[in-house]
């Protein structure tokens, strides 16, 4: 990039209206916190229903996924996310929405070439790098536990 363009890019970036970071953080904290509390409440409820600690944790996640997918299908999730930002994106609800919204979008192209092929176009990186990080962590854990 030549010097003129660098100056222009800096000028454009400087004058661009900035996102309201503090407001976004406050909203993300509030909504994200509410979702986490809801997750914990679900866990308590599933435990009370007689599930083991592991199973109730898993069922709490599954319930959150179900709610997020239903809200996506009814066209409400994006409206909540517009307000909440990272508050809905970071918890498992964001992942569920990324998959469900892509499925809805690709529906018109068929179940194989549409939904099947495009289901993970948005959520794919989370799976790829999440699984990769898990594998690396597992390998390191294995080596360290064998050594010491």
């Amino acid at each position: 990039m030549n010097a003129d363009n660098k100056t222009y890019a800096r000028y454009a970036e400087k004058r661009a209206k900035k996102s309201p970071v503090l407001q976004n953080c406050a909203r993300a904290f509030t909504v994200g916190g509410i979702i986490c509390c809801a997750g914990h409440a679900l866990r308590v409820l599933w435990s009370a229903a007689g599930l083991s600690e592991d199973d109730s944790g898993m069922m709490a996640s599954v319930t959150l996924i179900l709610v997020a997918v239903l809200l996506t299908g009814f066209g409400k999730f994006d409206e909540i996310a517009k307000f909440a930002g990272a508050g809905t994106l970071v918890p498992i609800t964001g992942f569920a929405n990324a998959v469900a919204s892509t499925a809805i979008e690709a529906r018109s192209e068929g179940l194989v070439t549409g939904v099947g092929a495009k289901l993970f176009t948005v959520a794919g990186p989370v799976i790829v790098y999440g699984v990769s990080a898990g594998a690396i962590y597992g390998a390191v854990y294995f080596v360290l536990t064998k050594l010491f």
Binding site: M1, D4, N5, K6, Y8, A9, A12, E13, R15, A16, K17, K18, S19, N24, T72, G73, G75, F77, D78, I80, A81, K82, A84, G85, T88, L89, G94, N97, A98, A100, S101, T102, I104, E105, S108, V122
Partner: protein, 335 residues
């Protein structure tokens, strides 16, 4: 076309028509659009892509009806949209029987189509049509995220207009009254100033608009010759940058300048920096500006179709966003 090309023949915009979606119909120009879908932007179709084609068809049919021409009297049709392979246009006109040339000029397509249709008339064709569309739901899929994906937009991002515009250009003048005439055209140059933020198209397009304006006014005309200098979809961000760039070159267009992207939505709506997409300038020109020329409220108009010539693939590969701005001079002529 290094210099502005003055057309030797009298080439009229015999009629224009506009189609707009729900949010656009709820905006400040809402009452001016000829056809709107205030329900859900599907225009009676089952996919968004078909809906966009339907919009182009509706705009073309309405413009032809107003101009008093049948489809088989049109010598050539120049049409474009934002989709891969220009399918919005291809499917819209597949049954029309009109000789067809598909265009891709990103958001500048309305002006590009007008220029080419005017040149085709200048070369000897009798009647040509220029038709352009964009649809929020097809463009989001093409360029961004699924519609129901939950994310936040940055304040500089723009909103693709669900809209279409059709313009019938003719050498023959039918009827009295004032008719808009295309008197001068100039193709833009591709200008890339190193912007890589897909959410700040205004900053990518503004230098191209400034380049075209400086070339045009450098060739002799003066901003005071015009009642209106209107850009396609620079939005809030791009408009401010364009005025800065022009002022830095001692060109004062501010009192006469307007931007279709800022006209189509009201400030309090959720559209951030304003409207974009090639349906934005097409619908605003057809519904508002050309109507005012016909009514005599505007006599000389300079229309700049602005476009960001990128794809998400090239931007992900690290390329910056090139911009372009094509120029069309329109004058009202009494019958």
């Amino acid at each position: 076309m290094r210099k502005p090309l003055k057309l030797k023949n009298r080439i009229y915009i015999a009629a224009s028509a506009s189609v707009a979606g729900r949010d656009e119909a709820a905006g400040p120009l809402g009452g001016l659009f000829d056809v709107t879908d205030t329900e859900g932007n599907r225009f009676g179709e089952d996919t968004w892509e078909k809906a966009e084609s339907a919009m182009q068809r509706m705009a073309t049919d309405e413009a032809l009806r107003r101009a008093g021409y049948r489809a088989d009297e049109i010598d050539a049709l120049f049409a474009g949209d934002l989709l891969d392979q220009c399918v919005g246009s291809n499917y819209a006109h597949s049954g029309s029987g009109i000789p067809y040339l598909g265009l891709y000029g990103a958001c500048s397509t309305a002006a590009e189509g007008m220029i080419l249709a005017a040149l085709a008339c200048e070369a000897g064709l009798g009647v040509c049509a220029a038709v352009t569309s964009s649809h929020f739901c097809t463009a989001e899929r093409q360029f961004r995220f699924p519609l129901e994906y939950g994310g936040q937009r940055t304040p500089t991002s723009q909103w693709t207009v669900t809209g279409a515009g059709a313009f019938i250009l003719s050498r023959e003048r039918r009827g009295g009254g004032v008719l808009p005439r295309i008197t001068e055209v100039m193709a833009g140059r591709i200008v890339d100033r190193g912007i890589s933020d897909l959410s700040n198209m205004g900053a990518a397009m503004a230098p191209a608009a400034a380049d075209t304006l400086l070339r045009y006014f450098g060739a002799g005309a003066d901003p005071s010759d015009f009642d209106l200098i209107i850009t396609g979809d620079l939005g809030r961000e791009g408009t401010d940058i364009l005025l800065d760039l022009c002022a830095a070159s001692d060109l004062d267009i501010a009192p006469r300048h307007a931007d279709c992207g800022l006209m189509i939505y009201d400030g309090c709506s959720d559209k951030h920096a304003g409207g974009s997409g090639c349906g934005c300038s097409a619908a605003v020109m057809a519904a508002d500006v050309l109507v005012k020329v016909r009514e005599g409220a505007l006599k000389n108009v300079l229309f700049l179709g602005t476009g960001a010539l990128m794809s998400p693939v090239t931007v992900n590969q690290g390329s910056t966003i090139p911009g372009i701005a094509h120029l069309v001079r329109i004058a009202g002529e009494e019958g």
